[in-house]
Subunit: 191 residues, 2 copies
């Protein structure tokens, strides 16, 4: 998606440790116009699927998911990382391994919010090692719902998540795939 | 806001401890159509203000803020509760007291994302003790920006936040104010 790549080039900052910082438009400050274009693009890429629900994970996936949901006319569910005191007792649990923190944590979705009749599209802002998407897939599977695919804004193509998910048969649509950040140069995958 | 109150009556669940659970449409599963009506209503109530930025706090404020932002044509910034490894070092810090956890925690906003020229509208899903809004106000003040007001979806009118904020001169616009949840009966404030 050209507009997104241009934005990454113009405003993204590369940091030590293969980090690309996009917090002027995606995961701290949010550019709503760009998000709308992202939402339209996801709709285009999954237009032949009868998506009935969008599932994401708090926190930075929420903005992308709710704007995109407007083009699918479906509700969003966001998986929670902590059990609030008003959370349902009946939940589906997914396990996510955090490479940053070197530990597993659980994500939770109320059983009331996904059914076996749902066609679920996963949405997230970043794909790196694929652990968040795998955790969400666990929840979709537990609900015996149908997993339509995963819509990702930025994929770090030099990390293993994309390959892992595609090898597992998941339709992964990443709007910008970065194949290298070496020497602070952003190299996109040709599409 | 009638549509919202109707939704609260139809789908909200009252729990022990003055809790109103609205996770079928607001803070777990999200009803995008309702959120759009909420966004329009915020725009109506703050239409005479030249809002340049919407500020909220992760996680459940984000959905409301980004949908509302479409009616104001402004970016959203969401304050973070944890310091990520790609967070700017230069941040404004607000302090929030959590009654649930009986402790203070910090919320952070990059200095790049709010300037003294901004007219900032705060948005959140719930107002109870007002601590989140006060923490966000701290950040707006630290940036020497102008605080336009606070748009709240559901205010627990029987808790002290609303009075506290209004007494401090903040224009608080709550789309549904619940004055009592006693005996599991939802009593709205007349408006």
């Amino acid at each position: 998606m050209q507009l997104l790549k241009q934005k990454i080039v113009n405003e993204g900052k590369t940091l030590e440790g293969n980090i690309i910082k996009v917090d002027t438009f995606l995961n701290h400050q949010i550019d709503i116009e760009l998000l709308n274009e992202i939402g339209k693009e996801f709709k285009k890429r999954f237009q032949d699927k009868d998506v009935t629900k969008i599932l994401t994970i708090e926190a930075s996936g929420i903005a992308v998911a709710v704007i995109a949901a407007q083009y699918f006319n479906v509700p969003v569910v966001f998986a929670k990382k902590t059990v609030g005191k008003n959370m349902d007792k009946a939940v589906y649990i997914g396990s996510v391994y955090s490479y940053t923190k070197s530990q597993h944590y659980n994500i939770l979705v109320s059983k009331d919010s996904i059914s076996h009749e749902d066609n679920v599209l996963l949405i997230d802002d970043f794909l790196a090692n694929g652990q968040a998407i795998l955790g969400l897939k666990e929840i979709v599977d537990a609900a015996q719902a149908n997993l339509v695919g995963a819509g990702i804004v930025i994929e770090k193509g030099f990390q293993k998540g994309g390959k892992l998910l595609r090898d597992a048969g998941i339709q992964v649509e990443s709007l910008a795939i970065i194949d290298s950040l070496e020497n602070n140069i952003i190299v996109f995958r040709d599409e």
